[in-house]
Amino acid sequence: MAEARSGGPKARPRSPHLGIYRWPITMGTSILHRVTGVGLAFGTLLVAWWLVAASMGPESYDTFARVAGHWFGQLVLFGFTVALIYHAVNGVRHLFWDVGRGFKMHTANTSGIVAYVVTVALTLLVWLVAYRSMGVI
């Protein structure tokens, strides 16, 4: 062993210890896919509420609109759109993997970063359009 001849091993970790462990990109994208998926399951309740409120008349819809317009409502809706867009964008990666493409480590890492960038860009675009529709900007 080289270390043994040059006066003992250097003090370096022998295993992927937590202190130096870096999450692989694909691990982050995978966990986020599942987390956003479970979040979107609850998000269906928002869509249902919107439709039911619209079907029940102006007062119900007004209640929905006020909650949706509140800063906390906006925060929840922002989370919903980010989750929906990320899950859809990253879902495309999964569909490519399902047909056996994009498995090379470099490709999978790059597509993961692309998924993050596209998610941020699309989310900003959607909220830009939304705030323009509302006449806020």
């Binding site: 039911v52 929906l84 509302m134």
Partner: protein
Amino acid sequence: MSVQTPLGRVRGLGSAKSGTAHFWHQRVTAVALLPLTIWFVWSIARYAGAPYAEVLEFLHDPINAVAILLFVLAGLYHMVLGVQVVIEDYIHREGTKLALLMFTNFAAFAIGVTCVIAVLRIAV
């Protein structure tokens, strides 16, 4: 009694005895949801903060009514399949697992029927 050999019976069905149906349905709904999601996100962005009358007009359009229900129903089916996997991954006590799987299905049907009725009340 089946005249099939044991190998013939299990071939292609795997340990869950349901073959690739779950996997395949998850993918079919995923593909269906891509255009529907683009349409949905674009629509809610354009109708954000719109007055009640405009929202009603939007949902009164048969194309929008069909699209929103396809989005909700395909989404719920995709959700049931996905949440099922999550539950099976993390919940190992048989009773709890069964209860949660049942609840997911009940919730999906309840939300689905509710959305259908709501949209039909406006669109029809």
